[in-house]
């Protein structure tokens, strides 16, 4: 299968707060020379704890963080200009569906806002498309005119997924998509993501701190710590024979 995404040597640096007068600024490397590659239709799981840089990686790939390094998407080098013309081929779903959905927009507006960019402006068309999207993610179609606060946590995450797939992306970046959900709802969302991937052939970058969930979703896994990838490889290789001591520590929690 061909390579969908290739990122080389990504570095994101933030200024650390100055510790006193006259002290030179220090930098924090949120991401330090990270390289990943992803095949079309495959899932790369990114496993790490808070502060390991996994969300920064998601933001950097999605163009939401100031990043140095090179990202190739479908063979093209991603520059801001190229990104603008990608028409949502890469989309992102955030962890907390309460803060990532605009509370003042109706559900049909939320999940079809991206369509405005591709020239679909009539409300009627948008509502029709929204109904199809809701059905696709397992939300009752009657919801189109409601507001996000009327939905439960799991439903809101389904809505965030509907919004992300509206532009029929090739790559979905999922930043802790199930972490804010209850156990029984988490299983439903996992099933939805697996179904969608089978139907559409989207590739996923699945970011989570939950070892069990990452194992379940991924073909390949990258383990992150302190802004670097410390170990990467096929899922079974990582789980059967982890090389790095930190990976072993992480996995030991499962047993």
């Amino acid at each position: 299968m061909s390579i969908l995404l290739e990122a080389r040597n990504l570095t994101v640096r933030y200024d650390a707060p100055a510790q006193g007068l006259g002290v030179t600024k220090k930098h924090v490397h949120a991401l330090n020379g990270v390289s990943v590659s992803l095949r079309e239709g495959a899932t790369l799981g990114v496993l790490g704890e808070s502060g390991s840089g996994k969300s920064t990686l998601a933001f950097a790939l999605a163009g939401l963080a100031p990043v140095a390094g090179e990202i190739l998407f479908q063979g093209k080098r991603l520059t801001p200009a190229v990104r603008r013309h990608m028409r949502g081929a890469m989309q992102i779903v955030f962890q907390d569906p309460r803060s990532s959905l605009n509370p003042r927009m109706r559900i049909w507006e939320i999940c079809t806002e991206a369509l405005l960019l591709s020239g679909i402006r009539s409300d009627k068309k948008r509502i029709g498309r929204a109904e199809a999207l809701l059905a696709e993610v397992g939300l009752p179609v009657e919801c189109v005119n409601r507001y996000p606060h009327e939905l439960s946590g799991g439903q809101r995450q389904r809505l965030a997924i509907a919004r992300a797939i509206a532009s029929q992306p090739k790559l979905l970046i999922l930043d802790e998509p199930t972490s804010a959900l209850d156990v029984s709802i988490q299983a439903q969302v996992i099933n939805l993501l697996l179904d969608l991937q089978q139907r559409t052939g989207m590739a996923y970058i699945f970011i989570s701190h939950d070892v069990g969930v990452v194992r379940h979703m991924s073909d390949d896994i990258a383990v992150m710590r302190y802004g670097e990838i410390i170990e990467t490889g096929a899922r079974d290789k990582i789980f059967d024979a982890p090389q790095h001591p930190y990976t072993r520590e992480l996995l030991s929690v499962l047993s």
Binding site: E49, S50, V183, A187, G212, H216
Partner: protein, 327 residues
């Protein structure tokens, strides 16, 4: 030997009013935590577990829109139903501490961590600020914080979620309370950190005999930390018993469904078993078993509410299901 009870709740019902009428958040709930015992309260969001734990220290907005009734509501021997504000002040913090789920809203953004910790320490025990600083430092390092001096000078926004939650835990332990009510205290933390803190909390409970009501939705943490567990669904306790037994061989269909949906049990990239549908919102408070619409075993009798009945094989266990012991 029976230990004195740290928490004794009998027949607690809490209802909230909204524009469409009354919603029952907690219904006829009974729960006991003995001194020195670590008890888990498991449930999904909206199941009423936080309302239950908040009721213990008068943290509910009681009034026209929130009503509480109970046959008994005792915390460390104090009848909370009839207590005075003064008695509650003595209880809160010094004897019964609370740890909240959202570390960002539980800490004041305009105060440094040092100020937070000093406030707690000085409010309950007069001491020099030098002593308070030393004690704060010690409490933070016990929570696995490697550079307590730096953390003490930080403001909440400068710390990660995990760090903030450790600060809250350190504050809860700071006055050597006899009871800690912890509402999802580990949810924001990393797995390895959780591990560390679970170990620490276990040691602390053995040393100091503090009782803990541990509210969580994380089954594995509860199993490794708690002696007994209560499982809540839609405002009711549906199952209770020794944590290890309930969470390895559950009797109630809801607990069974929860355990069966964990991804660890399935081959990678296959569909998981799920509990169909979602929990009722409490508005309608339908008659009968609240779980019956989602239950694979539901039958005619489920239109009558099943009582929490002791298991025939194990008197320490109980579940609220007409099929108790049969499935």
């Amino acid at each position: 030997m029976t230990r004195a009870s740290a928490i004794d709740i009998q027949d607690l019902t809490v209802r909230f009013a909204d524009d469409s009428g009354w919603r029952t958040a907690v219904r006829s709930l009974s729960l006991q935590v003995r001194e020195g015992e670590v008890v888990g309260l498991i449930g999904e969001s909206g199941s009423g577990k936080s309302v239950t734990s908040s009721s213990l220290l008068w943290l509910l907005p009681l009034g026209d829109r929130c009503r509480l009734t109970a046959e008994r509501l005792d915390v460390l021997g104090l009848n909370v139903l009839d207590a005075t504000e003064r008695e509650m002040r003595n209880l809160r913090g010094a004897q019964a501490a609370m740890v909240f789920q959202e570390p960002m809203t539980a800490l004041d953004p305009l105060r440094s961590i040092r100020r937070h910790m000093h406030d707690v320490l000085l409010a309950h025990k007069p001491q020099s600020s030098r002593d308070a600083y030393a004690l704060s430092k010690q409490l933070l390092s016990e929570m696995g914080i490697e550079d307590p001096d730096r953390v003490l000078h930080c403001y909440p926004h400068q710390l990660s979620g995990g760090m903030r939650q450790r600060v809250l835990l350190a504050m809860a332990f700071s006055c050597n309370p006899r009871l800690i009510i912890a509402d999802e205290p580990l949810t924001a933390l990393d797995v390895t950190t959780q591990h560390q803190i679970v170990k620490l909390v276990r040691r602390k409970t053995q040393e100091s005999g503090v009782a803990i009501l541990f509210v969580s939705h994380d089954l594995s943490v509860v199993r490794s930390l708690c002696e007994r567990v209560y499982v809540m669904y839609a405002g009711e306790v549906v199952e209770t018993g020794p944590a290890h037994h309930v969470l390895t061989r559950p009797h109630h269909p809801y607990t069974q469904g929860l355990l069966a949906s964990r991804p660890e049990l399935f081959a990678p990239r296959t569909r998981l078993d799920t509990i169909a549908g979602q929990a009722p919102s409490g508005a309608d408070a339908a008659e009968g078993c609240q779980f019956r619409d989602r239950c694979p075993h539901a039958f005619e009798k489920c239109s009558v509410r099943p009582p929490l009945q002791a298991s025939a094989g194990d008197p320490e266990r109980a579940s609220a299901c007409w099929l108790e012991g049969a499935i």
